[in-house]
């Protein structure tokens, strides 16, 4: 681990840690969106050989996540491995961001009387506060759909019902939508920035980096915003 702490001591190393943990979290966000799209799958899922009416696709998917890897792994085993990786990534991402923010504050003890002009993007300037909004959102989101404490009449395993119950309240949906916009901006700068931080640049593919960041920021934002909108407009209902 000594090489890691030696690397982490430098600002470039901290940024590399932010980039790598960012990639892990981005991967999770993509999988999370793909999973959520099951909300739109019509009809009911029936396991092979199962009798009875079957269950909503998204509920079947939730069940799959809890039992994936069985019997090699215990129930929830793969899920917990996944959660621990994500938790470590989140902690490192925030810890590095916090230390870098302090470093940045210390680097300019006296502010300019006339504020420096902004020549570049809005997304890069909202990164820190956007990150804070996303963190608050994630905490609420876990209480809503994992713990169920803020979900009215939470039923564990009935993902479809819980989603409809939560998003039927307009103010919750509005909060989700705003948080997803913050996530979109955060992703746009982050997805481009990680290439710089890790030194992944080459004249031949440099112009793809911005396109990649734009595309995925939009895909994730539109995809995630569609769920509360679908509930509010009645497209997805009980």
């Amino acid at each position: 681990m000594s090489w890691f702490s030696a690397l982490y001591r430098s600002a470039v190393g901290k940024k590399a840690v932010m980039a790598v943990t960012g990639i892990i979290l981005f991967g999770f966000i993509v999988l999370h969106l793909i999973g959520n799209l099951k909300l739109y799958e019509p009809g009911l899922y029936k396991a092979p050989g199962e009798t009875g009416p079957g269950v909503r696709y998204i509920n079947a998917y939730g069940l799959f996540l809890r039992h994936v890897g069985e019997p090699a792994l215990p129930a929830y085993g793969a899920l917990w491995i996944f959660r621990i990786v994500l938790l470590v990534a989140v902690i490192l991402h925030i810890w590095a961001a916090w230390q870098l923010t302090l470093m940045s504050r210390a680097a300019r003890p006296r502010a300019y009387a006339s504020r420096p002009k902004i020549h570049t993007t809005y997304a890069s300037r909202t990164l820190r506060w956007g990150g804070v909004i996303i963190l608050l959102f994630v905490i609420y989101h876990l209480l809503d759909f994992t713990a169920g404490t803020v979900n009215p009449g939470f039923v564990e395993g009935d993902v479809y019902r819980n989603v409809v119950a939560s998003f039927s309240r307009w103010y919750v949906s509005l909060f989700y939508i705003l948080a997803q916009m913050a996530l979109g901006l955060h992703l746009y700068h982050g997805l481009w920035s990680l290439f710089q931080s890790l030194g992944w640049n080459h004249p031949r593919f440099n112009h793809w980096r911005s396109g990649f960041a734009h595309a995925f920021a939009w895909i994730i934002t539109i995809g995630n915003v569609s769920f509360p909108l679908a509930v509010l407009t009645g497209l997805v209902h009980k």
Binding site: L7, A11, V12
Partner: protein, 255 residues
């Protein structure tokens, strides 16, 4: 044209410092920004006041001596220029201009608009050189350098070390300067033997000086008088991370 200037006045490193308002009348549009300040200083000397101290040398935009903030822009509003090559025709009668020194913990203000950029010198001392035997200049064509590589190295070598990148950066980082100096040598064959040591020692020297970190805003690129690309920052990061990885995997040759 007539201008209202708010200029940072600070008697010395220990002085608190403050913005002071001056009126400058009949400024020629052909004057450079520094010549406009020369006019102001003549007025101040005439009134028995202390003239505004600012650094300058060649006034051709190639020495890197001059530079300060004009209304929140390092080297003023025109892209790709130093303040000595900024002409008054880009301003208009009645403009109010706020003139401040570079603000960075690593660049303490010495007097008025003059800052100590010794931190840059110490970064260069850490690795911004190649170790060769001195003596007569070697035959220029002894080591062939491919044209695209030579061009790229020259793009980096254009850095005049003025400090605008640090001044504009919201994090007060010196990444553009350091990366230009690292890349200039790391691209060329002469720089290869010390390539990874250079990346390590210059990046770590940059951290020691108390500069901030790079969050890829690209503000530096926007104000750099030599329009140096942030691609060099990615190059520097790559060489630094590679160097760290090599150190982690292998026993170093020398300890």
């Amino acid at each position: 044209m007539n201008l209202t200037l708010h200029v940072w006045r600070q008697k010395g490193p220990a002085d608190e410092g403050r913005m002071v308002q001056y009126e400058v009348k009949d400024v020629s549009e052909h004057a450079s920004f520094l010549e406009m300040l020369d006019v102001l200083n003549q007025q101040l000397i005439g009134r028995g006041e202390e003239p505004v101290a600012f650094e300058h040398d060649c006034r051709e935009g190639i020495c890197g001596s001059c530079g300060f903030m004009i209304n929140g822009d390092a080297h003023g509003p025109m892209p790709g220029t130093t303040v000595c090559q900024l002409h008054m025709r880009h301003f208009k009668d009645g403009d109010v201009l706020h003139i401040e020194p570079w603000r960075s913990r690593a660049f303490p203000v010495l007097k008025d608009l003059v800052v100590d950029r010794g931190a840059f010198d110490r970064i260069i001392q850490a690795g911004g050189f190649i170790s060769v035997a001195t003596g007569e200049a070697p035959e220029a064509n002894l080591i062939p350098v491919p044209k695209p590589v030579a061009d790229r190295a020259m793009d980096a070598a254009q850095c005049i070390g003025c400090g605008a990148c640090v001044a504009q950066c919201p994090n007060g980082a010196a990444s553009l300067f350091t990366s230009a100096k690292v890349s200039h040598l790391n691209l060329l064959p002469q720089g290869q033997p010390e390539r990874f040591d250079r990346a390590l020692s210059m990046v770590e020297a940059m951290d020691r000086e108390g500069f901030g970190y790079c969050s890829n805003h690209a503000e530096c690129e926007a104000v750099c008088p030599k329009e140096i690309s942030i691609d060099f920052i990615a190059r520097m990061n790559r060489d630094y991370l590679k160097a760290k990885a090599q150190r982690g995997m292998k026993t170093p040759l020398q300890t």
